[in-house]
Symmetry: C2
Subunit: 220 residues, 2 copies
C-alpha cells in the first residue's frame, strides 16, 4: 500500500535526525525524557509528583505537547514551579524529531539538566518517531487494562521503562499486576515495570531513583 | 512541513473513497457504525452490552480492528454470538476507507443489517480517516478525564454521538458530567452525550434507542 511506504520514509528520515538532538543534549549536559501514554493515563500528574523529588538535585524543564489547550503546561508550572512550555502540534498525532528539537530550543537548553517531554496522548504513533530522548517512559493506566501491551506492541517495545499508573483503582478494574508485567515482558524483557499511584504517592520514589541512576550515567 | 502535505493528500484521497463504501452499504441495506476511542475506554465491553439489545431486530456483524492480538474478536463472538472478524492493521494507527471496505467484504455483507467497526484505540488519527460509516460513536471513559474534548478536538468534531463510559467510577476520578458535556458541546454542539456504565448496565438502552432511530432513518 502506497501510504505505508510514504509513512516509512517519513519515519526513517525522522529517526536519522534523532542523532542531532542527542548531540545537542550531550553537548549541553542535559538528560532528556520522553513520556508517552494513552490520553488521560496520568502523564501530567506523574510529572507533578516526580519533579519535586528531582528538582533539588537537577534544574528541570518541561515541554508539554498537545494538539490543543494549554491546561497541562499551566498546571505543571503552577504545581512544580519549573520552567515549562506548551507546544501545539497543529493536529499532529506525534512529536517528530524536528518538533522535539524546536521545543528544546524554545524552552532554552542553557542551565537545564533534566528535560521532560510530555508527548501527545496516543499509544500508537508517538512510538514510531524517535524524539532524540535518552529514555522513553511509557505509562499504562490501570483502567485501560492489563492486555494493552499485546494490542499496542511497538509502544512497549520502545519503552525504556513502564509505569503502571492509578494502581489504587486496581480492584475495581480487575487489573492483574502479574499479567501486566508478563505482557510488558513479552514485548520488552528489558524494561523495568513500576507500579504507581500518584493519589496514594506510591512508587513515584522508585521511578525517581531509576531516573537518577540513568541521569548519573549520562551527565554525572 | 512536507510531511503534513503528504498526510493531507492521503487523508483527502481516503475521504473521497468513502462514497464507495456508503454506496455499498446503501445497496445492501446495511447500517454501518464506526466506534472510536482511546485504548481501554470500553469499546468492546459496550458492544457486548449493546448487541444483545439489537440482535433480535437486526442481523448484526462486528469488525474488530487491532494492531495485534485477537482477544477482542474472540470475546465479542463468545459473548454475543454474532458474526465477528478480526482485522490486523499491521502497525497502522487508524482504519482507512480501503481497509474498511476490505473488512466489510471479508465479513460478508449479505444478510446483515447492522455492522459495527471497532476502530484502533486512538483518540487522534482515526478521526481523520472517513471509514464510510453512517455514524461515528465516540467513547470517552471517565478515568481519562472530562477535559479530553479540549485536547483532542477533531475526534469530538467528527462524533455523531458521544458515550461517556465507566460512569460508576466518576466519584473516584472527580469527573464532572456537566463539564464533560460542555467540553463536548464546545467541539460539537449537535452530538448527543450518553452516560454509560456497562458494569451497572446504565445508559446502554439509550444508545440502542438512538441507534435504532438512525437505523430506521436509513434502512427502515
Amino acid at each position: 500500500m502506497k501510504t505505508v511506504t510514504i509513512k516509512e520514509d517519513i519515519v526513517s528520515r525522522n529517526n536519522e535526525r534523532a542523532k542531532d538532538v542527542r548531540d545537542l543534549t550531550r553537548e549541553k549536559g542535559i538528560f532528556y525524557v520522553n513520556v508517552m501514554s494513552s490520553p488521560g493515563a496520568g502523564k501530567t500528574t506523574l510529572l507533578t509528583r516526580l519533579i519535586p523529588l528531582l528538582r533539588e538535585r537537577y534544574s528541570v524543564g518541561v515541554i508539554e505537547a498537545d494538539i490543543d489547550s494549554d491546561t497541562d503546561a499551566l498546571r505543571v508550572e503552577r504545581e512544580t514551579g519549573v520552567k515549562t512550555i506548551q507546544m501545539h502540534t497543529g493536529g499532529a498525532c506525534h512529536i517528530t524529531c524536528q518538533m522535539s528539537e524546536e521545543a528544546l530550543l524554545a524552552l532554552g537548553v542553557e542551565g537545564l539538566d533534566l528535560i521532560f517531554l510530555e508527548n501527545i496522548g496516543n499509544l500508537v504513533c508517538p512510538a514510531e518517531f524517535d524524539t532524540g530522548a535518552d529514555l522513553n517512559l511509557v505509562l499504562l493506566s490501570v483502567p485501560e487494562g492489563d492486555d494493552k501491551p499485546l494490542k499496542y506492541p511497538l509502544m512497549f517495545e520502545v519503552a525504556s521503562a513502564v509505569a503502571v499508573t492509578k494502581t489504587d483503582v486496581s480492584p475495581i478494574f480487575d487489573f492483574d499486576r502479574e499479567k501486566a508485567r508478563a505482557n510488558v515482558a513479552r514485548r520488552n524483557p528489558e524494561a523495568p515495570v513500576f507500579f504507581v499511584s500518584a493519589k496514594q504517592n506510591e512508587g513515584v520514589g522508585e521511578i525517581a531513583a531509576f531516573l537518577e541512576e540513568r541521569i548519573r550515567g549520562k551527565i554525572g
